[in-house]
């Protein structure tokens, strides 16, 4: 009834497999998602997982599709298009911080852009509302997405390391600068500053 109840229960579904996969990723990270571990958590052998959803790559792809949709509920706030774009970016940033494993998953799956697919369209609408069209609008949209994507990826891939926080490996000319660099910094301030500077130049006042 305990261990043997595996065989007695309902057949697996792709949804159950993906639930288990997501649970592994959330608790132990993408690197812990192996076919044997996943099958084990489901009380089944690896070929069964292949039968229901497919290999590791397919599972990662479907996890991303799931995660992507959770980033779809963002709504812009503010009066000016710049403010609304800014709010969209900050909201996306907050969402990514709440679910840091999303980035690891999308990188492993080779779909680093997945996070943006939902935001893209909404930002495009704001860019057009600001009065940009055609090539100008495309350029603005791209610049904003590079800004957002770059910031997220750097924050999660590099900022965790020592070198942007502590600069112990080189001596700054100015001891005062050196001292400031050893403190940690308000990362959001850097992002907001950059985004503002870029938006001010992109959008007509």
């Amino acid at each position: 009834m305990t261990a043997d109840s595996y065989r007695a229960r309902e057949p697996l579904t792709p949804e159950l497999v993906l639930d288990a996969a997501m649970a592994i990723v959330e608790t132990d990270g993408v690197e812990a998602l192996s076919m044997r571990r996943l099958a084990g958590d489901l009380g089944v052998r690896t070929p069964t997982v292949y039968w229901h959803v497919g290999g590791r790559q397919e599972i990662l792809d479907k996890l991303i599709d799931r995660l992507m949709n959770e980033f779809g509920r963002l709504r812009p706030r503010g009066k000016t298009p710049a403010a609304r774009i800014s709010s969209l970016c900050m909201a996306l940033l907050r969402e990514v911080r709440r679910r840091p494993h999303v980035i690891a998953v999308s990188r492993t799956a080779g779909r680093g852009e997945a996070i943006f697919t939902r935001a893209q369209e909404k930002i495009a609408r704001e860019v057009e509302a600001a009065g940009l069209h055609g090539r100008e609008a495309a350029f603005a949209l791209r610049t904003i997405l590079f800004q957002l994507g770059g910031f997220i990826v750097v924050e999660f891939g590099i900022a965790a390391d020592t070198s942007l926080h502590g600069v112990n490996r080189w001596q700054a000319a100015d001891p005062e600068l050196r001292d400031e660099l050893s403190h940690s910094i308000d990362i959001d301030e850097v992002f907001r500053f950059s985004l503002d500077a870029v938006l001010a130049r992109l959008l007509p006042s």
Copy 2:
């Protein structure tokens, strides 16, 4: 004399091991760098590699140290600090493009910031030459590094995908915008524009 000459030659050195590792990474990518493949290329068995340099992680770390130094020869050009910073960033970008495997290696090794360790100090000098000190200088340096790092990582991790080039997954409100987005774009233009906008706000005129 042919196959058996392996045993007849000089003992291995860490340098030779790293040369072979670098060759694998350059031709077939980081994912092709396995201990067995590396040992095989050297005509030796895996424990020998461990004896000379260590495990995979150690090898990757030492490869990064090597690559890092190749990014040290950059010299700033231009009259104003802004121009000199801009030239440093563009030079670094060119270097990374010439050696795209550097990014893959530094990511695999979990040292995404490695590319910047050399540029950091030089940019700091320019920031101070522009008249910034203490906290202001630290903020400017960080903002510039985020800009540079983000751009590089996005270009290599995301721009290769379809979604920033082709936007086939959603319909833009404006068909003209949609058309523009399906064209590929001058990526450098996006970077230069963003960097200029940020520098203009960071540095005193």
